[in-house]
């Protein structure tokens, strides 16, 4: 989904802004500070934001209303949503009495998306600067949503707007599961990549030092509020949207296991440790590192550890794990999940 807050978009936008400037022939109101005046773009805006995709949900009613008899059963209301790069969603929902604009955590956003799935969900790109007009009057949900999208339309009903948008080439129907997979994948991948990255200056470190740094990064990433919210949502929605749950597992824990497995293999090759099943050891290390945090995160209880507590946890886990791996034990475990260690000197 194209949003201006993604890294690549940000970069492009930055350079475009430097190259651009005020459109010729614009008349600036007297008293506007020169630096602001210089920022005004060709649409009269202080910032130039590229067009974003909106998720437009045409939905049946939740509570009975007298006017429901006049509109199609599945399209009695319409609202707009947009995922952010942190896992939350922007919601713009016209009420009778106000326009609700808020940011929803993923679990709450899923409730709105499920409501959307009771009707139809469309992905529509907004028009910038748009062709809508404030002179429409009677700003009901359909009119306000068309206004958000910058569409010039005379329809007064959600169903009318639905048919109008469906005729456009760029409009796409969406499924909730696909939207969650897309968002979970992007956000979790981003966190995993930064947590599991090994810098050029770290390659000369000892295995134990490197493992401690990775362990600390993993704890920090796992306790990022946006990631905790996505984890909770992935578990909560496992029955309804299993693909979203699996993508969380693949981009989160499984990537961590893969990186740890590679580290352990290298350490074994270098003679730092002796391991027969590096993948099983990676599972065990990660589980020790997380301790109670995963369960507490799911149940939304407990306190976030301070940075020094995270550091202590990482060091203690690395110490216990490496002591255990290096201890004199006879390998006796058969199955795939097992961790085997050899007697020192054998």
């Amino acid at each position: 989904m194209t949003t201006s807050d993604e890294n690549g978009g940000h970069r492009e936008e930055w350079f475009r802004r430097k190259e651009g400037g005020r459109a010729r022939g614009q008349k600036v109101v007297r008293g506007v500070p020169p630096d602001l005046a210089n920022s005004i773009d060709e649409n009269g805006s202080l910032v130039t934001v590229p067009p974003a995709d909106w998720i437009i949900c045409f939905v049946p009613g939740l509570q009975a209303q007298w006017w429901h008899r006049f509109v199609p059963s599945k399209h009695k209301h319409v609202f707009a949503m947009r995922p952010t790069s942190s896992g939350s969603w922007i919601l713009v929902e016209p009420w009778w009495t106000r326009l609700m604009v808020t940011v929803l955590p993923p679990a709450d956003a899923v409730r709105y998306l499920r409501w959307g799935a009771m009707g139809n969900i469309l992905r529509v790109r907004e028009n910038v600067p748009g062709r809508a007009s404030q002179l429409r009057g009677w700003f009901n949900c359909a009119v306000l949503t068309a206004f958000i999208l910058g569409r010039r339309t005379w329809t007064w009903t959600p169903h009318g707007l639905f048919r109008r948008l469906l005729k456009e080439d760029g409009t796409r129907s969406e499924e909730v599961q696909d939207l969650l997979v897309e968002q979970f994948s992007r956000v979790v991948k981003q966190h995993s990549s930064s947590a599991l990255a090994i810098g050029a200056d770290q390659t000369s470190m000892s295995f134990e030092e490197l493992l401690t740094i990775i362990a600390r990064n993993m704890i920090e990433a796992m306790l990022t509020p946006s990631l905790l919210e996505i984890y909770y949502t992935a578990v909560l929605e496992a029955d309804r949207y299993p693909d979203a749950t699996r993508i969380f597992a693949r981009e989160g824990p499984e990537r961590a296991i893969a990186v740890l497995t590679r580290m352990f293999k290298k350490a074994a090759d270098d003679g730092d440790i002796e391991l027969h099943d590096c993948e099983a050891a990676a599972h065990r290390f990660l589980a020790m590192l997380h301790g109670d945090m995963r369960l507490q995160g799911l149940l939304q209880i407990g306190r976030l550890p301070t940075p020094s507590q995270m550091d202590l946890r990482a060091r203690a886990t690395v110490k216990t794990f490496l002591n255990g791996v290096r201890a004199r034990r006879v390998p006796h475990v058969r199955e795939q999940q097992s961790l085997s260690v050899r007697r020192v000197g054998e």
């Binding site: 909560l236 496992a238 299993p242 699996r246 020790m288 301790g291 199955e335």
Partner: protein
């Protein structure tokens, strides 16, 4: 209606133990439990009214259920005198095996249930966590502290060590919650738990040397 639950209902006196027994039989890692308690009650053949009559509230019922599993595990951590590392090893392997079995099956369902029902009440989540995981962790922490005081283990921070071990034993729970359930074969389970306990104990004992 299940037989044991039928007895519990018709005996005149609410029998909490019999109800918990009946429910435990049907508690597995079914993803439908994420929608709340109704699918479980349906399978047990009982109604919310039965639960209210016996426990007073759905929340009290869930807390009792969590407490029941905690009892099963904490009972295994009363070893008496811990004289040697092998004694601690045997106790922890029995404990680990029971925990692993629960975290592979029934507790997956219970956690799903708590996530679903807990969405309406922070207090419920707190109470369940206190009655279940906290009690188990406390018992394990006391066990490890006792082993340290007896000179068997060299643990600087028993509560952190408890978290490490519980983290490993809860691995099947987390895998199941993310739809990658682990194998349940008894032989495999024994080996996996034995390896985990060995790694942990060797990790702790190793510091002293």
């Amino acid at each position: 209606m299940t037989e044991s639950f039928g007895r519990a209902r018709h005996s005149g006196q609410p029998d909490k133990g019999a109800v918990l027994d009946a429910v435990s039989v049907h508690l597995d890692r079914d993803e439908r439990l994420l929608s709340g308690i109704d699918p479980l009650l349906e399978r047990c053949g009982c109604t919310k009214r039965d639960i209210l009559t016996t426990f007073g509230s759905v929340d009290d019922f869930l807390v009792a259920l969590a407490g029941r599993y905690a009892d099963q595990l904490t009972d295994l951590l009363r070893p008496g005198d811990i004289r040697a590392l092998d004694v601690a090893r045997d106790v922890l392997k029995q404990f680990g095996l029971a925990a692993w079995k629960n975290y592979t099956t029934t507790l997956v369902g219970l956690v799903r249930l708590i996530i679903a029902e807990g969405a309406r009440s922070q207090n419920l989540r707190d109470r369940v966590y206190e009655a279940g995981p906290t009690r188990v962790s406390k018992a394990l922490c006391e066990f490890l502290a006792h082993a340290r005081d007896s000179g068997v283990l060299d643990i600087a921070d028993p509560s952190l060590a408890t978290e490490q071990l519980m983290g490993v034993l809860r691995e099947p729970l987390y895998q199941a919650l993310l739809l990658h359930p682990m194998a349940e074969a008894a032989a495999e389970r024994t080996d996996i738990v034995a390896a985990a306990i060995d790694l942990f104990l060797d990790g702790c004992a190793g510091r002293r040397s």
